[in-house]
Amino acid sequence: MGFNLVRLIALLTVLPILGIVVYIIVQGAGSLSLQFLTQMPTNGMRSGGIFPAIVGTFYLTIGTAVFAVPLGVAAGIYISEYAKDSLWTRLIRIAIISLAGVPSVVYGLFGLGLFVIFLHFGTSILAASLTLSIMTLPVIISTTEEALRSVPARFRIVGRSLGATQWQTIRKLILPQALPGIITGVILGLERAAGETAPLLFTGAAFFLPRLPSSILSATMALPYHIFVISTQVPGMPVQIQYGTVMVLLIYVLGMNLIATLIRNKSRKNRQW
C-alpha cells in the first residue's frame, strides 16, 4: 500500500516533463524541416528558418565553455585537493553557494555593468559568454569538487607513497578517475546556460539580425531570446514557428542531457573501485 503510493507519486513527477515534451513535439514537429534549421528568418521572422538563433546559441555554449570550464575545474581541484579547512575556504564555499542562488536576471544586469559597459565589450557574444560563464561556474566547481572527492583517499596515499608529488598524483590518478563526473557536471552546467534568456537580455542577444555574427564582439541571436521575441514582440507570428523553435531548443538541451547521461553510465561500468 505504502509502496504503491510512493510509486504513484514518483510517476506523477514524470508527468509534467513528459507532457511538455510530447505537447511541444506534437505542435512543433510540423514546422521542423531542413529549411527551418538552415535558413535565415524572412518577412519579419514570420517565415523562413531560425538558423542564426541556432548558431548563436551554439556560439554562446562554446564561449561559455571556454571561460567557465578551465576556471571552474581549476577551482574545484583547488577546493577539493589543496585547500585546508580555514576561514578563507569557508568563505569561498559560501561564495559559490550564493553564486548558485543568484537570479539569472541579476547576472544579466551584472554582465551589462561589467562586461558591456565598463569593459567596453558592448552587446556581444563575448560579453554574453562571460556573463553565462559566471552563472555556470558554481555548477562546474561543485560537481568537480564532488567528483574528485568520490575518488577514494587510498589512491592518493599510494600515489604519494610511490614518490609522486601531489600534483602528479592528482593529474595521473585522481583526475582521470573523476573526469567522467566532471564532464557530466560541465555539460549540465552548459545546458543550463544554453537555455537561459535573462542573462542575454542586456549582454548579447539581438532582436533580429539579417546575417550571422562576424566576430566575438558582434551581437547574436539566440534560441531562448528568439522564443521570447517571437512569442511576445512580433504581431501575426505563426504559431507553428513558435512551437518549432521551442522544440529545437528543447532538443538541443535534452540532447546535451542525454550525452551527459551516456558518459555517466559508461564510466560507471568501467569504474575500478
Binding site: 592518493r156 596515499i157 600515489g159 604519494r160 614518490g163 608529488t165 595521473k172 569504474r271 575500478q272
Partner: protein, 253 residues
Amino acid sequence: MSEKALILRNLRVQYMDGMESLHGITLDVEPNAINVFFGPAGGGKSTILRTINRLIDLDDLKQLEGEILFHGKNLLDADVDVTALRRKIGVVFSRPIPLPLSIYQNVTFGLEAAGEKDKKKMDQQVEKALKQATLWDEVYDRLQEPANTLSGGQQQRLCLARVMALEPEIIMLDEPTSALDPIATAKIEQFMQDTKEKYTFILVPNNVSQAARMADTAAFFLQGELIEYGVGKSIFVTPKDKRTQDYIEGRFG
C-alpha cells in the same frame, strides 16, 4: 658492525585528534634483515612507518620530534626531498591497493613520477620488478589488463612489484598478508627471505607467529612505547618484559 639502515632517536609523534601517538622511540633498524615491529593494535607501529617515509606529512600533527637518521641525514629535516625519500623507502599496505590503472601502469607509476621516459627501460624495469615479486609468470601475457582483475594475493604482489621497480633500499610492509590466504602469505614471506641479502625489510606482522617466523630483529610496541627490542628470535623465547611475555603467550592483544 655495519652501518645501521635507520637510526631512530627519541621519536615523538602526536596526532592533532590525539588518537595514536609515539612517546619517544629509540631504535636501530638493521640492514639486510627483516626487522619486525609487533604488538597489539594502536601501539604506534603504523605511525612509525608513516613517519619514516614522511607519509605522515599528509596528516594533521600536534607534535613531531626526534630524529630518524638515514645515511647520516635526519629524515625529519625540512629540506628533505620527500619524493626521493619515498622512492628509497617504499611501503606496502595491509590491504592490496591496486591503482585504477593497468598492471603495467601500476608498476611504471612511480618510475614515471620520477621522470623516467625511456619506454624500453620501463619495460625492463616492469619485467624485473614483477619477477622479483614472483608475479611475472602469472601476468606476463596480460600486462595491459586492469590491475583489479588480479586476485587479492596477486594484487598484493603487484603492490610489492610497484615498490621494487623504484629500486628501494628499505621496504616497509604493514601487515601485508592480513587479507591473504596461507598460500599467498607464504609467497610474500618467501620473497622477503629470498631478497633480504639485498634489501632491508621492516615488517609489521599480522600475528605473533608470523613475527616469530620472520624476525631477524624484533621490537615490541605497546601504546606508543617500545617495550622490548632484541636481535634474533630471543625475544620470542625468553622475553625480558612481563608485558612482552603476556602478549606473546596470547594473554592479551
